[in-house]
Symmetry: C2
Subunit: 250 residues, 2 copies
């Protein structure tokens, strides 16, 4: 089994809960202060026959030198990527949304976006296989384990993926600060795929052409520069608000 | 002059634009690819008599070992903290909002929140002097320089600060996931201070008692765990939407 490591209490706990990952073992710092999350990790590990070992904190620091492990590291199988066709088929009978990350480069941003997606009921994330970040330990940590509750779809061509979604009744929304429409002007009660662009360059032109809706987030100042994960959260939770309150009043 | 360093193109450019910081010098990697931001940095530095030097990239890597400097580092005076009384006096005649960070510990979160605040027209950030993060190079970088466009207020007692704001016509909103009201149910057309709690423990009880409104962000799933900077962005941009569209329809 090819292994990766994940660290942090939420990341390990959510991976255990999801039952989608194969655990080699879990390492716990032998001077961790116990808390409800750590107890839950030990309980689930015992229940599912996952080995856990108490080790010196220095051992954990070797595996995760930034010291963000919170006393818990798991050696685990990598995230399983999902095929786009399978995803579409699985969700054919329910209103579904996805997010496309067009070259987002910062692992913290990717992790935070995945976390917001899961909170907002988004079912899939599409990443290009050749640009931007793929899933790594930082993404898993920053997602607080949310990555185990969403389909991660890796594709060679974002253009082809978006065209396939369009053919399958998804509307395409692009976040673009040159857009005329505001993000709160559209009705999200539909299947949609939201495209978020790279931190510096935004969405590539070829993808922008495929958008049915281009939306901007209006600012109250000239400082026109939201972090991409914050921008995604703002749009996705407008969609949540919209779904909860019903159709938009025009 | 006591010096700090800031790094990244936006952080350096916005500090130059703001004219609030004293520059010792700017170091630029001698193999940086030029772009509009770097040209603007050189232009403003020349205009304002700030020394800039071209140095080997290794020199920058020594000063900022994580390699996130984008080829530019400035040695600069620290952010000037603003006194709360002065802030209140200065903004007495206009509708004003602030954000209180009650023990937020991650520098990336603090930086991202400051960035969203500036985009959303928030005029001040209140930080406790003894808990959570104070301003450091990571906060400056993550804020993309936004920190130069907002008042940073450091106080010994958040309770006393919030009580003073209440006495001066500010309404207190607390983000609390146990709240009954949704964040989109209240009318933000008022002076307000939004309290965001620490990543793990939330808002302390003594502050929660001072809140006029407690609001939650409703989720579409059971995974109830938004990143604090994303939660702040969602609430602050609901306030922007509200201000742009006028009073809420009840």
């Amino acid at each position: 089994m090819e292994n990766t490591i994940i660290y942090g209490k939420n990341a390990v706990l959510e991976a255990l809960k999801s039952r989608d990952r194969e655990f080699n073992k879990i390492l716990i710092s032998n001077n961790s202060r116990s808390d409800s999350k750590l107890e839950k990790i030990k309980e689930l590990a015992s229940k599912h026959g996952v080995i856990f070992q108490f080790v010196a904190k220095e051992k954990l620091n070797q595996l995760e030198p930034e010291g963000r492990h919170q006393g818990v590291i798991a050696q685990i199988s990598p995230v399983k990527y999902v095929d786009l066709d399978d995803f579409i088929e699985k969700h054919r009978d329910s209103q579904t949304s996805l997010v496309v990350l067009d070259g987002v480069e910062d692992s913290h941003n990717v992790g935070a976006i995945i976390r917001s997606c899961v909170c907002a009921g988004v079912k899939g994330i599409i990443l290009p296989s050749r640009r931007g970040v793929l899933i790594n330990s930082t993404v898993e940590k920053t997602s607080a384990g949310a990555i185990n509750h969403i389909s991660i779809i890796k594709v060679n061509s974002l253009t082809a993926a978006i065209q396939k979604l369009k053919e399958n009744n998804y509307w395409v929304i692009a976040s673009d600060h040159h857009a005329k429409d505001n993000y709160y002007d559209i009705d999200y009660n539909m299947n949609f795929v939201l495209i978020m662009g790279a931190e510096h360059s935004g969405i590539s032109k070829s993808l922008l052409k495929l958008a049915d809706f281009k939306v901007k987030i209006p600012m109250l100042t000239n400082f026109n520069s939201l972090n991409v994960s914050n921008a995604a959260a703002i749009i996705l939770f407008e969609a949540v608000r919209n779904k909860r309150l019903g159709a938009k009043r025009k």
